[in-house]
């Protein structure tokens, strides 16, 4: 609740800075302060167990320490994104204030997705989260690819919105006392109403669109590739993870009783996502596009949390959110400071930019899932939850095989950075690698290692009350 109010307020405030402040750096500082304020507001609610604002919302929002803890992780990642790539947001175009404003509006949607208690608020949350993203994707107006990406995203996004609405209507129709509250959806003890089943499938498809799970991922590579890199970073980490939180909250609270039935659909989606994400990523030459596909592949791993849907899966989801977001924000941050970003442009980076290369290596190791990094812990929790839920060892084996395949494309970047000589004729330039940028990268790397060694540091907050 606190986060919804503060982020909406910050969004409006940032809009006005564009009109009243001439200095381009001011919005950035204000945005960082706003993100920290957002974090604090959320932390206070987590600490006190009740929001600062007492508005009667008829129980349409419902908080738990899990959802607030999860939200804290996402807002924390937003702060890190602002610290690392704030200057890249300024560089996208003229309307600096508006970009930050849109990002805060997205965060408002994220906060609603974390706390909704009715299907209406789920819809509101997902829409508030999506519409600013369409604008952000197309914000680089001089780049045709960016505009194409925005249009594609908008069309596909509206399509999935339609499906979501249809699903909500079906479920509403199938619920006897005509209620939107997610807990009151009646899945039936013996036979589930066909309305509910159709509604469930439509909602599953719609949210799979949002988290770019195959076979509903087609928009993702082009959109992630076309959008300005810093917004790709935002979209493919914080926003995607928010989609998973909404996914878990909805399916656990309303359809938890028939988990065994829709679990089979999740298996299909998981394997398809892992397959398409990993296999296509192998063939990419552009690191940005490779990261786009890898983000699909990682979504496949996160789907395992929906498959298992037990306590450990929910813990694993938070860890995964933190691990994946931190690593991807770091890597996208580096990519956004490069003019060109094919794999061969990373050649010899270990020599020319040792700090950048070293931290990038840690992020890549974390994404691969090497022990002592956050990525390992999150994968461990995910895999354990799956075996715990159903003893479906074959699914875990499929997941780890794809994880081994993912080493192939992540390590290609490491190989380029350390084992190839820099291009001497056409050296790639990284702009503005200053002490600040390096320190934030090191901070991200340290966080990755800390979570990798002591994940309870984050998990403890999920059980605060």
């Amino acid at each position: 609740m606190n986060a919804i109010v503060v982020s909406a307020f910050m969004g409006i405030l940032m809009m006005f800075t564009g009109a009243f402040v001439k200095n381009r750096a001011v919005p950035r500082y204000l945005a960082i302060a706003g993100a920290i304020l957002l974090f604090l507001a959320n932390a206070i609610e987590l600490k006190q167990g009740q929001p600062l604002f007492h508005i009667n919302i008829y129980d349409m929002l419902k908080t738990s320490s899990y959802s607030l803890g999860f939200l804290a992780v996402m807002i924390g990642c937003l702060i890190l994104l602002f610290l690392l790539s704030g200057e890249d947001i300024e560089r996208v175009g003229h309307d600096v204030g508006e970009y930050f404003a849109l990002i805060f509006f997205v965060m408002c949607g994220v906060a609603i997705c974390a706390t909704f208690n009715t299907l209406l608020f789920l819809f509101l949350g997902i829409e508030i989260l999506s519409i600013p993203l369409y604008i952000l994707t197309g914000s680089n107006k001089r780049n045709l690819l960016s505009i194409e990406a925005a249009l594609k995203y908008f069309l596909m996004g509206s399509f999935s919105t339609g499906l979501l609405l249809m699903g909500i209507a079906m479920v509403y129709g199938g619920t006897p006392n005509a209620s939107f509250y997610i807990a009151s959806i009646d899945v039936g003890n013996t036979a589930t109403s066909p309305f509910i089943i159709i509604g469930l499938i439509l909602m599953l498809v719609a949210i799979s669109f949002k988290v770019s799970a195959a076979p509903f991922h087609f928009w993702a590579p082009d959109v992630y590739d076309g959008a300005p890199t810093v917004f790709t970073s935002f979209m493919s980490t914080i926003v995607k993870v928010a989609g998973f939180l909404a996914f878990i909250r909805l399916f656990e609270n309303s359809f938890g009783a028939i988990h065994k039935d829709w679990q089979k659909l999740i298996v299909v989606i998981t394997i398809a996502t892992l397959f398409i994400g990993n296999i296509t990523a192998i063939f990419q030459q552009s690191v940005k596009r490779m990261l786009a596909y890898s983000s699909i592949a990682q979504a496949g791993f996160m789907m395992l949390a929906l498959f298992a849907l037990n306590d450990r899966a929910k813990e694993g989801m938070v860890l995964y959110a933190a691990a994946y977001s931190i690593a991807a924000i770091g890597l996208f941050g580096i990519v956004s400071r490069m003019n060109e970003f094919t794999i061969s442009d990373f050649n010899g980076l270990g020599k020319t930019h040792p700090v950048v290369a070293f931290t990038a290596t840690i992020f890549l190791l974390s994404l691969t899932g090497i022990p002592l990094t956050a990525g390992f812990q999150s994968k461990l929790y995910m895999l354990t939850s799956v075996v715990e839920n159903s003893n479906q060892v074959w699914l875990v084996i499929v997941a780890v095989i794809f994880s081994a395949i993912s080493a192939y494309y992540y390590f290609r970047v490491i190989q380029a950075m350390y084992f190839k000589e820099p291009n001497t004729e056409d050296p790639v330039e990284l702009w503005n690698i200053n002490g600040w940028f390096k320190s934030v990268l090191i901070l991200l790397a340290i966080l990755t290692i800390i979570i990798g060694i002591y994940p309870e540091w984050i998990l403890g907050w999920l059980y605060y009350w």
Binding site: V400, I401, A407, F419
Partner: protein, 497 residues
């Protein structure tokens, strides 16, 4: 001492500190000195630990740090007979490696020495871990420094060869991780000292009493075995090895073949046998047959091999295959011999690699057909090589003799055919090792070998130590056998024998 810090902790943290220090030192000579001094200190610690084997010194040898966590893992490390043999081997070979490369020049030498020390940290961790998750973490972490070492310094195709190795082992270890998770979920609840409780735990005791059904054991066995077999490597999962040994730099190869391949054998002894006794009883003959096929296959290829490094790689596959077969013979004789031989093979193969590395650096050639008559120019080197070669053939008085004798006796007890067929391997070893010595060292010198000079003092010293160890254990293997005697009954006891 046990109050503050224990032997296994020192064995893990000292290499880590040395590695990090060496990274920070800009001066290459200083980095070498730091790494060398630390590796001597580690050797001293490891040697000291051999005198504290008595159960009353448990506090010096075992430590279990626990912190309340959701998943129930602890930092649990300890030394027993098997891990003492292997930690001592690891501690012994690093100073030798550093001595042998004292005069060599590597680009970015500080990172080179640093990575070497970090790899020692990971390997030590594997040998002392008594918590399955900790074991897994060290198992993978040991791989990362070696990956960078082999990819950064070495032959032209090193990056591809090392990456093949990495993917093989990474895939294998992930399969093992699946197995670990499955066993973990069948362990009993664990109560921590401060009263918190987790549903399951990763501790060694919990794992070996998980009470798995025979059906579960039979597939879990293979998940673990594949990971260990890739590391050893056992035919048909060996294909990464010749490429890596051929392309990687000398010291990395020494670490790989001297100690890292022992991680696979150690994994079988520490985890596979006690965890899945029923599956072991079911599959042990199958594994022996696979291992023996590997021995014959690798030996035959070694005979036809012209590339020196590949020759040693295949010879190593044959030797490891024999050790793998004797583990699964599952009797006291074969296991004791195998533990002794793990140590011996580590020492001998590192001796061989030091000699080959010297030859390659002096002549730039690694083909048997290009080299001849080195004995005329480097008589000291030749004497050392001769002893090491004899040890590889397992001649009496050398260290490999008692080891192989015990292994064959054990295999014979299991089934005379096993001993007879794998015995062919010994004949093949004599063929290709003597062939190597004869062609490379004797005969007339050629243009490549005419200009070389004999080895320097530090290289002499490291080879001399190896030769001393070879004879010492060849004449009096008892100290190592005593360590083996401590562990073997425990392992066989878990198997119900």
């Amino acid at each position: 001492m046990g109050e503050f810090i224990t032997f296994p902790e020192l064995l893990i943290w000292l290499p880590l500190i040395a590695g990090l220090l060496s990274f920070m030192l800009k001066k290459e000579g200083a980095a070498w000195t730091v790494s060398f001094v630390f590796s001597l200190a580690i050797l001293a610690v490891s040697a000291a630990s051999l005198f504290y084997t008595d159960p009353k010194f448990l506090a010096y040898n075992n430590v279990n740090y626990y912190y309340p966590n959701n998943i129930g893992n602890t930092f649990f490390v300890g030394l027993d007979g098997t891990s003492r043999i292997l930690t001592f081997l690891t501690a012994l070979v690093y100073p030798l490696i550093f001595l042998s490369i004292k005069k060599d020049e590597y680009k970015n030498a500080s990172s080179f020495y640093g990575l070497l020390m970090l790899s020692q940290c990971g390997i030590m961790g594997v040998f002392v871990a008594l918590d399955a998750l900790l074991f897994y973490i060290f198992w993978e972490v040991a791989l990362i420094p070696i990956y960078f070492l082999c990819s950064k310094w070495g032959g032209e195709r090193r990056v591809q060869a090392t990456f093949k190795f990495f993917v093989y082992t990474f895939a294998g270890s992930l399969l093992m991780l699946v197995g670990i998770i499955y066993v973990y979920l069948h362990t009993p609840p664990k109560v921590f000292e401060n009263g918190t409780q987790t549903l399951h735990s990763f501790s060694y005791a919990a794992f070996s009493n998980a009470g798995l059904s025979a059906g579960d054991q039979s597939w879990l066995f293979w998940l673990f075995f594949v990971a260990f077999a890739i590391k050893m490597p056992v035919f048909p999962l060996h294909t990464w090895q010749p490429d890596v040994y051929d392309q990687a730099n000398g010291p990395a190869t020494m670490v790989l073949s001297g100690v890292m391949v022992k991680m696979g054998l150690f994994g079988v002894l520490r985890w596979l046998l006690p965890l899945f006794p029923e599956a072991v009883g079911k599959y042990n003959h199958l594994v022996i047959v696979i291992a023996i096929i590997g021995i014959l296959y690798a030996s035959l290829i070694a005979i036809r091999q012209d590339n020196l490094k590949r020759l040693v790689a295949y010879s190593s596959i044959a030797h490891i295959g024999l050790m793998c077969a004797s583990i699964f013979a599952l009797n006291i004789t074969s296991m004791e011999g195998m533990m002794l031989q793990m140590f011996n093979h580590g020492v001998n193969v590192i001796g061989l690699w030091i000699v080959l590395d010297i030859i390659e650096k002096k002549t730039g050639a690694k083909k048997i057909s290009d080299l001849t008559g080195i004995a005329h120019k480097a008589p000291v080197l030749t004497i050392f090589l001769f002893v090491i070669a004899m040890a590889n053939i397992a001649l009496p008085l050398t260290n490999a003799f008692p080891g192989e004798l015990l292994m064959f006796t054990g295999l014979f007890e299991a089934n005379p055919w096993f001993a007879a067929i794998s015995g062919l391997g010994i004949v093949f070893v004599a063929i290709y090792i003597l062939n190597l010595v004869q062609k490379v060292f004797y005969g007339e010198t050629n243009t490549l070998t005419a200009a070389i000079n004999d080895i320097g003092f530090s290289q002499k010293l490291s080879l001399a130590i190896i030769v001393v160890v070879i004879f010492a254990i060849g004449i009096y293997p008892q100290p190592i056998l005593n360590l083996a005697k401590e562990s073997v009954p425990v392992i066989l006891g878990k198997l119900g024998m």
